[in-house]
């Protein structure tokens, strides 16, 4: 069952009197109990997509068109007052850096309870649910944790608190903004396992934002690869890793170092830089960096087509790639 449906979302950021398109027609579905990886490099629009869903765009940014449906309700159409009441209760978010995501001057219990109170849960009920939320994320002695200030907790503990706070109101959608990036590898694995477990338990729809394809492979059932504000390719994780249908996905996959590579050559890189959003090319935004580009790529922007188990926004089918050699350029 589809819980989160993003339909043709467009988001712009006002910059020097102009609206820069940061999200350009993103469509994405996340089912209950499903984790969808949203992959892309900095500036690809993945964070703006997430913040649009949460309704927490920074000053100067706004959704210009499209719909964000959660259980059929369009969040974009809501007034800000109603939007606030959906935050935390319908859509919740966990963040990249657990060291800064918590208010240093409030006990973690107070911070979790604050979210509950903002949605009308007060008194002993708020306290009970705060402790239950802490317990649920596997932290020992919940009452002691609740009375602690963030600086008394380790990074992993804090991230668990952030997760507890996000899930305390049983939201339908969880947006995870690279929640493992700032953590030690062993802690990363624990947090991945925890989110995975809670997702199953609560039938959560999880949108997992990351630039780390390794994390995606570990946790996500499906992946959407973003480039220059659009979804370049959307596919099942298995299908994407086996046979990427977009040259950009292929290039991303090729730049993951493989531990089985015995010959340590230089790691392939994608030449060039992502396009300037203020001056997008007329054609496919990846065309200038693409090894498989054809003439028409420079003139028209491809719409997503279903091909080889993927939805890919590319004119050139995978079968035609090989002739032009490797997608990658050797680093200079």
């Amino acid at each position: 069952m589809t819980v989160l449906r993003i339909e043709d979302l467009h988001t712009v950021v006002r910059s020097r009197g102009r609206d820069l398109p940061v999200v350009r027609g993103v469509s994405l579905d996340v089912d209950a109990g499903e984790i969808v990886g949203l992959v892309g490099e900095s500036g690809s629009g993945k964070s703006f997509t997430a913040l649009s869903v949460l309704g927490l765009l920074p000053e100067g940014a706004r959704v210009t068109s499209g719909r964000i449906l959660v259980d059929g309700e369009d969040l974009v159409a809501l007034r800000e007052r109603d939007r606030r009441t959906r935050r935390g209760s319908t859509v919740a978010m966990i963040y990249q850096d657990p060291m800064t995501a918590l208010n240093p001057l409030m006990t973690v219990g107070a911070q979790i309870a604050e979210g509950l109170r903002a949605h009308g849960i007060r008194g002993p009920e708020a306290k009970r649910r705060t402790l239950a939320a802490i317990e649920e994320v596997g932290l020992p002695k919940p009452d002691r944790i609740a009375r602690s200030y963030p600086h008394r907790l380790s990074g992993g503990q804090r991230q668990r608190v952030v997760i507890a706070s996000a899930l305390a109101l049983r939201p339908r959608v969880l947006i995870a903004d690279e929640p493992t990036t700032a953590l030690d590898v062993t802690i990363q694995q624990q947090i991945l396992a925890l989110v995975d477990e809670l997702r199953t338990e609560h039938d959560l729809a999880v949108l997992w934002i990351t630039h780390d394809l390794g994390v995606v492979a570990r946790i996500a059932a499906r992946v959407a690869v973003m480039y220059a504000g659009r979804v370049a390719e959307q596919a099942g994780t298995r299908e994407l890793f086996a046979a990427p249908q977009h040259p950009y996905s292929a290039a991303l996959l090729a730049s993951i170092p493989s531990p089985t590579d015995t010959e340590r050559g230089p790691l392939p890189q994608i030449g060039g830089a992502p396009p300037d959003l203020a001056a997008l090319p007329a054609g496919c935004p990846f065309e200038p960096r693409c090894a498989y580009r054809e003439d028409r790529c420079a003139t028209g922007e491809p719409e997503p087509v279903h091909r080889g188990g993927s939805d890919t926004a590319c004119f050139v089918p995978r079968e035609r790639w090989g002739v032009r050699g490797d997608a990658m350029e050797e680093p200079a």
Partner: protein
Amino acid sequence: MSLRYLLGRVAGMLGTLVGVAVVVFVVLRALPGDTITAKLGTQAATLTADQRAALRHFYGLDSSPVTQFFRWFGGLLHGDLGVSMDTGVPVTHLIGDALPVTLELAVLAMVIAVPVGVLFGMLAASRPGAVRDLSVQGVGLLGLAVPEFVVATVTVAWLASAFAYTPSAGTYVSIGDSFGGNLRQMLYPALVLAIGLAATVMRTTRSAYLEAAGSDFVRTARGKGVTEARVRFRHILHNAGIPIVTMVGIQFGYLLGGTLVVEQVFALPGLGRLLLDGILHQDYAIVQGVTLLVAAAFVVVNFGVDVVYRLLDPRTRSEGRRA
């Protein structure tokens, strides 16, 4: 707050005050002239050597500076600040009369300036670069730039011409005598002091608020669905509190010794006036006593600020263990 920390702090505070006592004493002695010339003016030149020696003996100026210092310092330990050489009144009495005036002025000015400064600082920071920000900042800059003596004089002149009200005429009415009468005398000087203070507090609040507003935890709070008002006060302002409290503390300490100009213009018998008279008459005991008092006030206010830090920020508290 551990006992050990408290003892350390108190020792440090006392050390500072001893240092201040020494410096004030030495600096005063290093100035040319003495209380006799200051008191007698040109007539001092007609004194015979014997007369001068007798006077010096009378004022205790004939003993060595070291002896004088320890005599004064010994008195300090008993709470005796010496006697005004000019009037013969004990300095503790003079300060006892003047301190409440200045203290009231300072407190009143703070009570007006802090809420105004904080609220306008928040208003300015809520939309940096917008009209409200620029106007608040512009007015604030004006408040800082115009000197107190100008504002004070203009206020007095304006009150007199517009309302035929002269706050600086007549004798000082203490709170004990008449609350209303006292407030009528104190309100305008306090307002004058509050202008510069509010501007300072506003600027500090604005920058501290902006910095705190950019923190990740603010986004976390909004992401939980917390109301905007609560985000602003509970999360942003609270985290901006430390620089604001520091600034307010410094300003308050400064006010206790720095209301001189306003006291002079509004003819209020406060510490500033007392100090000024002391300096004009080279009345060592008064200058030493007031300076020491102001230094003590600074030290105590600083300590108070540290205590407030600990209340505001759990990271500065040492107790407790890792969970």
